[in-house]
Subunit: 374 residues, 2 copies
């Protein structure tokens, strides 16, 4: 492979060359076109067209931008909608997954990002099901398992789970699987449709670069839409929202996952940010991501006091997690030296590599600086 087939893509981002930004797994950097687009939205669409813009593209933006995200996660059009936060979408997905079930438990990856576990706990309490945290290597699914909630990439270690095998495992006992793609969307080709995934959610502000707190997405495959009932029955999920009918009739399609009025500024900033993806192939992104993280791990593996938590094989995302007893102080010192990663208590340093804008020089500079500090 060409060492960096995506080198030209970095020019599409607004990045300071003095900074080595390795936190795109937490907040992606802004593509250059976002600032201009947002300006156009504020000044022209909102300022000049005012309320008329709702019928000039705003109303359908959640589905239209959803289709663009869908293309990146293996979902054909009409199955992804962009709305709300990941946590809120998790609530919808889990409530829908266990609705009317006669089964008794929800299983959640024991190392899940906390919000997933909190929401799963809340859903379990509301529905009277039990919540069972389990190691993804030993899920021990049963005919009493209603749904399994899994993180495609572990936020702490960067480990990538086998979506195909685990989806099959869930289906083998008749359980539904909900995948959280926060740390894998934009990292590698995902095949939601092909794998028969039941439901999925994800955020757009990490590797998709949508901006701080940009709206999340939810995937409801066509075959599941008619049976998808979620309790956040806001008016924009109604079949005929502007009829202002007294009773709620959900939209027949994925729009039934919508709730309130869509947040247009952030939605269209995300829309602009997604333009970058029209120019790249996810296979190239994945190849470069593995190369970058592999290169960085090779450089830091033998540093004193460092334990690499991220798998050395291909079962990893684009984040390298290192354990060190003084991780917090080390990350502060790195950031002072313009090497920006992040710290997860109590002892984990995380370095996210975004193949769209990170370079092998970034990896070298980060490793060299870390070595100096140690």
């Amino acid at each position: 492979m060409n060492r960096d087939p995506l080198a030209h893509v970095r020019d599409l981002f607004d990045l300071d060359d003095d900074v080595v930004y390795l936190d795109g797994n937490s907040l992606g950097a802004p593509p250059k076109n976002v600032a201009e687009r947002v300006q156009e939205v504020v000044k022209h669409q909102w300022g000049s067209r005012l309320i008329r813009s709702w019928s000039e593209g705003w109303w359908e933006a959640p589905e239209r931008v959803g289709n663009r995200v869908g293309r990146l996660v293996g979902a054909a059009a009409g199955q992804v909608v962009v709305c709300d936060s990941t946590s809120v979408n998790l609530f919808k997905a889990l409530m829908a997954a266990v609705r009317s079930t006669d089964r008794s438990e929800i299983v959640v990856d024991a190392g899940t990002f906390p919000t997933d576990g909190y929401i799963a706990q809340s859903v379990a309490e509301l529905t009277g099901l039990a919540l069972r945290p389990a190691d993804p290597d030993r899920l021990d699914l049963r005919d009493t398992t209603a749904a399994v909630l899994l993180n495609h990439v572990d936020y702490r270690t960067g480990r990538l789970l086998d979506m195909a095998a685990l989806t099959e495992q869930a289906h083998a006992v008749g359980a539904k699987v909900v995948w959280d793609l926060c740390h894998s969307a934009g990292v590698l080709p995902i095949e939601l449709d092909a794998l028969g995934v039941d439901l999925a959610v994800g955020c757009t502000y990490k590797f998709l670069n949508g901006g701080p707190g940009s709206p999340a997405f939810i995937y409801v495959p066509t075959r599941a839409q008619q049976g998808f009932h979620q309790p956040l029955t806001g008016w924009t999920g109604h079949q005929v929202p502007f009829a202002m009918q007294p009773d709620y009739t959900p939209d027949p399609g994925v729009s039934r996952a919508r709730v309130g009025t869509p947040d247009i500024l952030s939605m269209l900033a995300l829309d602009a940010a997604l333009d970058v993806w029209d120019q790249v192939d996810l296979q190239d992104v994945r190849a470069k991501g593995l190369a970058l993280t592999g290169h960085f791990m090779d450089l830091v593996r033998d540093l004193p006091g460092i334990e690499v938590l991220t798998p050395a094989d291909e079962w990893r995302g684009h984040q390298v997690s290192l354990r060190h007893v003084r991780a917090g102080a080390l990350m502060d010192a790195l950031i002072e030296r313009n090497i920006i990663g992040d710290f997860r208590a109590p002892d984990v340093l995380r370095f996210g590599f975004a193949p769209l804008y990170n370079t092998f020089e970034d990896a070298d500079r980060a490793a060299t600086t870390l070595k100096e500090l140690l």
Copy 2:
């Protein structure tokens, strides 16, 4: 009263003088400073500071901007948080209001904005309570009523309800009251604290001019915070979000109403939009709003085929609703002539008067054009 004590405030808005914009009850116009602020957020805060901005003001923005909204609705600091959509906040508020109740019904204003009714229906189903729609003039509250959900201003007629009397009515039978302030925030002085309101929600994109789909707010008074438990237990509502604890412990204060990662672009656009309110007194806004709507109603009351739905007395918001058998076609024709109001099926024309930027000339031009069309 000086005929227009707020005339100078219009200069703070980016408005085309050829357009008579009377739809601020649906989407407020942008204050001029919003475009520049958003640019600063995208280019500097996101682009240059990147992830560091989370600890340079972003994380606390929901509470900080919440306090600014709180000042406009009579809530002392620490009781309002800006987050999610109105529908999602309604869900939290109603679920919290009826949690652990031994009462059997939720009462909702029968003419409520549909989303309120849909969410109330969903909460009733989840909790096993009955939902009873009732005329706000005959709520017939009982000792079986757990909670009442009321719209401060009716979206269809523009009628303003008596918050003091209705809150007292609810409390007299031991019921909690949840107020939806979507059409009254920024319209008149509201006294949530003084009236002992239990919970309130509202949007920020109408009379507060926060931008299309800008995040909504929720009011949880200090005395109610410890007992406020809502099922959207996202990580940002946790007492120590970054401790990444496996169990959910809600923040002791209003932040327990937060769910997912806050949407910063829209939040800070709203923050900029709120600057306008630092220069105005809500008493002046109210006086001008009543004068504008009164003047407009006087001009159109006797037009052929027109029925004024909005109360002639002071129990109205800043919106005038007119019924006409050809309302849809009339609104289309008005919009073609740059008089922008909106249409609500089947036969209502709505004209919102935003005292911050609408003028008496706006009212004259709208009335004259409507007369010509009739």
